[in-house]
């Protein structure tokens, strides 16, 4: 299977873990609140980005990962297992989000085909030839 799909599955699992971690590891706010928001966000966009046409949305979890790396300090976790947990989860999300993988299907120029200027038909034809990889 495509590496990009595995990376999305990995991010999904990290997201689900973040939802469960506050209860399983026994930590409270602010880490609890942060993880119970970041977790569903990570899992949702990872699942959506499995499809080739929505693969660019993997980048949302680049932001989620970066946020989790700085959140322990910005939100004042004060160390502990919750800090370690967010650092590891954030690093994994960041790494997974950088793996694009291969999309074999072609989508007629993809989303950029919608934004060409009305008379740029040559550009449209070119992008149709090339396809969205």
């Amino acid at each position: 299977m495509d590496r990009g799909v595995w990376a999305r599955i990995g991010s999904t699992l990290v997201g689900i873990w973040l939802m469960a971690a506050p209860a399983l590891l026994g930590y409270g706010a602010p880490a609890e609140i942060n993880d119970r928001i970041a977790g569903p966000v990570a899992a949702t966009f990872a699942i959506i980005a499995i499809s080739g046409v929505t693969r660019p949305l993997r980048r949302v979890n680049t932001a989620t990962g970066l946020w989790l790396l700085v959140a322990p300090w910005l939100l004042g976790y004060g160390g502990g297992v919750q800090t370690l947990n967010d650092m590891v989860a954030g690093a994994l999300l960041l790494l997974f989000s950088l793996v694009k993988g291969t999309v074999d299907s072609r989508f007629g120029g993809g989303w950029s085909a919608l934004s060409n200027s009305p008379h740029a038909r040559h550009a449209t034809a070119d992008s149709l030839q090339r396809g969205e990889r």
């Binding site: 928001i37 569903p40 949702t44 299907s105 072609r106 120029g109 919608l114 449209t124």
Partner: protein
């Protein structure tokens, strides 16, 4: 794999039944789950199935948040899934160009439903302080549908754009009344 009904520049046709039936199936499953949850919220059934989180489902479904709208939130979900299933099923295998309006309506029905589901997932532990298994299952279904539904919408949007670039009416193309 190429397909004679595939949009120009596409390696496949996103409007075939093999592309759409799984989505209609998922929406139908979501419709059953949401209807069951709504039936509990409307007091039509007295107990609710919850295998993992103890009293969680009851707490979530009877929370203040679940009742802020004029109708129970699960009933709204059921209406959303019904819209997904109906707009996913209407039209033939060339509907990306023959009926752009239904394809775009399908995309609009699938997208926001998924977003609302995730907002409700976040609110379960944060606002209510409990989890609800079937609510989570419903959220998974609505999120899983988004990616696979989006390709067909892109094909329709590209078609409308292409026709409009050629000087045809966007409006007529959208409704599928233009000569295609």
């Amino acid at each position: 794999m190429t397909d004679s009904d595939a949009p120009p520049g596409w390696s496949y046709n996103p409007s075939t039944w093999s592309q759409r039936l799984p989505l209609v199936g998922a929406a139908t499953a979501g419709l059953f789950i949401a209807s069951y949850l709504a039936a509990f919220q409307l007091d039509w059934v007295r107990t609710i199935w919850e295998p993992f989180f103890g009293d969680g489902t009851r707490q979530v479904l009877t929370s203040k948040l679940s009742g802020v709208l004029p109708i129970p939130d699960a009933a709204l979900g059921a209406i959303g899934y019904l819209a997904d299933a109906v707009t996913g099923a209407i039209g033939g295998t060339r509907r990306w160009k023959t009926m752009p309006w239904i394809v775009i309506l399908f995309g609009i029905a699938v997208g926001p439903l998924g977003i609302v589901s995730i907002a409700l997932v976040m609110s379960q532990p944060l606002v209510v302080g409990a989890w609800c298994t079937l609510c989570l299952a419903s959220a998974v279904i609505s999120v899983v549908m988004i990616g696979p539904a989006t390709d067909e919408m892109l094909a329709s949007l590209q078609y409308v754009k292409r026709q409009s670039d050629l000087g045809h009416s966007k409006w007529k193309t959208f409704w599928g009344t233009a000569d295609a």
